[in-house]
Amino acid sequence: MGHDWLSLWSYLYGPLAIFLVGLYGLLTQKNLIKMAISINIMDFGVNLFIISLGYVPSGEAPIYTEAVRRYLPSFTDPLPQALVLTAIVISVAVTAFVLALIIKIHGRYGTTDLTKLGEMEL
């Protein structure tokens, strides 16, 4: 399949790169809050990836209105959008929990640095 590099970047490699930035952050960062940030960035990348997989160039948003009264083959795919909607809500749920956890860790050990937490040998 022939693709120019610009659309390959925006539909596949760009979202993947954002996901990998998050993964890289998760592996290299020592601060717990920055690890939570990295998880969120991974989510951004994957959400972009999923929406790009449902995107049809020159497509319409999948909502019937006064202007678009009947089914057109040029709608964008609504299913990935529904999936991402669910994924975003789940990711905010996890974020709320993990940040509360970090606050508790800080309250107990007085630090959010992973190396220091490791040195304490808990």
Binding site: F19, L23, L26, L32, M35, I39, M42, D43, V46, F49, I50, L53, G54, L79, P80, L83, T86, A87, I90, A93, V94, F97, V98, L101, I102, K104, I105, R108, L117, L122
Partner: protein
């Protein structure tokens, strides 16, 4: 008629969980019994569903939408037994919590987490839709986070959250890519449309799926959270991780591999086989060195997950589903669920953490020592107990299909396992304690819980043919 719908196994615990905050403002004490109610309902409902089911999968549509595009639940008699085992151990663990672990922080958190964990694991086992599996995976995971963090095991929980989040993101990626390439989220239909796709694509998708599920199934790449969380969680919590969550997640892995990849892509299953064997070897080797009992059981649990997955992968890697090997793996899964629950509940009742501290506790609490020994002997495969038969069937089928490397790793791992579990039994009965014994005296009702599990293990040990008959003849085709 309505009782025959498997969706009730998910819906009733959900309803009860939502009612917990409402109830708690009227009757504070009643809240603790809601999980018992949910678990009891599930066990009865699962037991009623099994006689109706056969080896072929039946489809229950949700919302009345045709199962090709809507969400559907799958059910077969084999799944029924796994569900029964999982829900039964969950119910016994919840009973244990109700009796012995009353005052752990917020009064709402544990009941809600247990009740929703029940819906989550049943959903994970039964759902036939990939994205729905993701949702139930997350539900189980977050229930797991609450259970893991409850006794202030914050760091272990943090590790668990991070690894599970990576897993869930990978799962989403794989699901979306599979949908884009095939047009379906239904596992069977997506699997049927795979044939036209290039091999690199299929391998990447399969790697993503396996990695994604590996966090909760306690398989290798993402299982770093396991020992820490086991060590820090309460007795009930550790049973939930070892038996309930890992049992359901292992079945979910099996289901995805079977329904999506079938037995057509030998390279996918061979990869899974290697992963399973490596997990088995690494888990046993790590368990060998542990002196903390719960950590030892945690690594042993990892190793068992590896063994089960390796056996399933071996059953699928030859091009057709090897029925004997597959049912032996399911048998092993059920045995592992029951025996791990018994051992962990027993350890929780002993109340000591390390092999030194435990010394001789089995001679002081004779009944408890005997009950724990039943679980341990079943785990190491002592003849006469349930665990012996599943391992025996496994070895017989492996020899029959000539998988030498597998047999070698399996036997070596079994040797390790026998060694460290016997060391544990030795400490339990013959050792001398260095720490003063100060564990609470459990009520006789608690003994009944352990006794039920031990009786099941011994019963299965007497009638292994019944059990292997019950889980054999799985027919993944015939859906749609």
């Amino acid at each position: 008629m309505i009782m025959q719908n498997p969706v009730l196994l998910i819906a009733v615990p959900l309803l009860l969980a939502f009612l917990i905050p409402v109830l708690s403002s009227f009757f504070k004490g009643a809240v603790r019994f809601i999980p018992v109610l949910a678990g009891g309902f599930n066990v009865i409902a699962a037991a009623l569903l099994i006689p109706q089911a056969s080896g072929s999968l039946t489809v229950t549509e949700i919302g009345g939408w045709a199962s090709a595009y809507g969400i559907s639940l799958l059910f077969s008699s084999q799944m029924g037994y796994v569900i029964l085992a999982v829900n039964l151990t969950a119910l016994l663990a919840i009973f244990y919590y109700t009796l012995n672990e009353r005052d752990l922080g917020s009064p709402l958190a544990y009941p809600i987490a247990f009740t929703l964990a029940l819906s989550g694991v049943n959903g994970m086992i039964m759902t036939g839709d990939l994205f729905n599996l993701f949702v139930f995976m997350e539900m189980t995971a977050i229930a797991g986070y609450i259970i893991a963090s409850h006794k202030e095991g914050y760091l272990g929980t943090f590790r668990f959250v991070v690894l599970s989040s990576v897993g869930s993101v990978l799962f989403l990626m794989a699901t979306a890519a599979l949908y884009n390439a095939t047009g379906f989220l239904n596992m069977t239909l997506a699997g049927k449309s795979l044939d036209t796709l290039a091999a690199p694509f299929i391998s990447i998708i399969s790697v993503l799926f396996i990695m994604a599920l590996s966090s909760e199934a306690e398989l290798l790449p993402l299982n770093g959270w396991v020992p820490r969380v086991y060590k820090d969680s309460s007795g009930t919590g550790s049973v939930f991780f070892a038996s309930v969550f890992s049992g359901a997640a292992l079945f979910a892995v099996i289901k995805v591999m079977l329904m999506v990849f079938g037995s057509r892509y030998a390279y996918v299953h061979q990869g899974l086989l290697v992963l399973g064997l490596v997990t088995l070897a690494a888990g046993e080797a790590a368990a060998f060195k542990q002196t903390n009992i719960k950590k030892m059981v945690a690594f042993s649990s990892i190793a068992q997950s590896g063994l089960i997955i390796a056996a399933v992968a071996a059953a699928m890697s030859s091009g057709v589903l090897h029925n004997g090997l597959f049912s032996a793996a399911l048998f092993q899964l059920i045995n592992n669920i029951l025996a791990k629950a018994l051992v962990l509940l027993g350890i929780a009742m002993l109340g000591q953490a390390t092999l030194q501290e435990i010394g001789g506790a089995g001679t002081k609490k004779k009944w408890l020592g005997v009950l724990i020994s039943v679980g341990v002997l079943s785990l190491i495969g002592m003849p006469g107990f349930a665990g012996f038969w599943s391992k025996f069937f496994l070895i017989r089928e492996l020899v029959g299909s000539g998988m030498l490397v597998f047999i070698l790793v399996f036997l070596l791992a079994a040797l390790f396992e026998v060694y460290y579990y016997l060391r544990f039994l030795q400490a339990l009965f013959l050792g001398k304690s260095t720490a003063p014994v100060s564990s609470p005296k459990p009520s006789w009702v608690t003994f009944i819980l352990l006794f039920v599990l031990a009786a099941l293990i011994i019963l299965i040990g007497f009638a292994p043919d019944y059990m292997i008959q019950a889980v054999s003849g799985f027919n993944p085709g015939g859906v749609l």
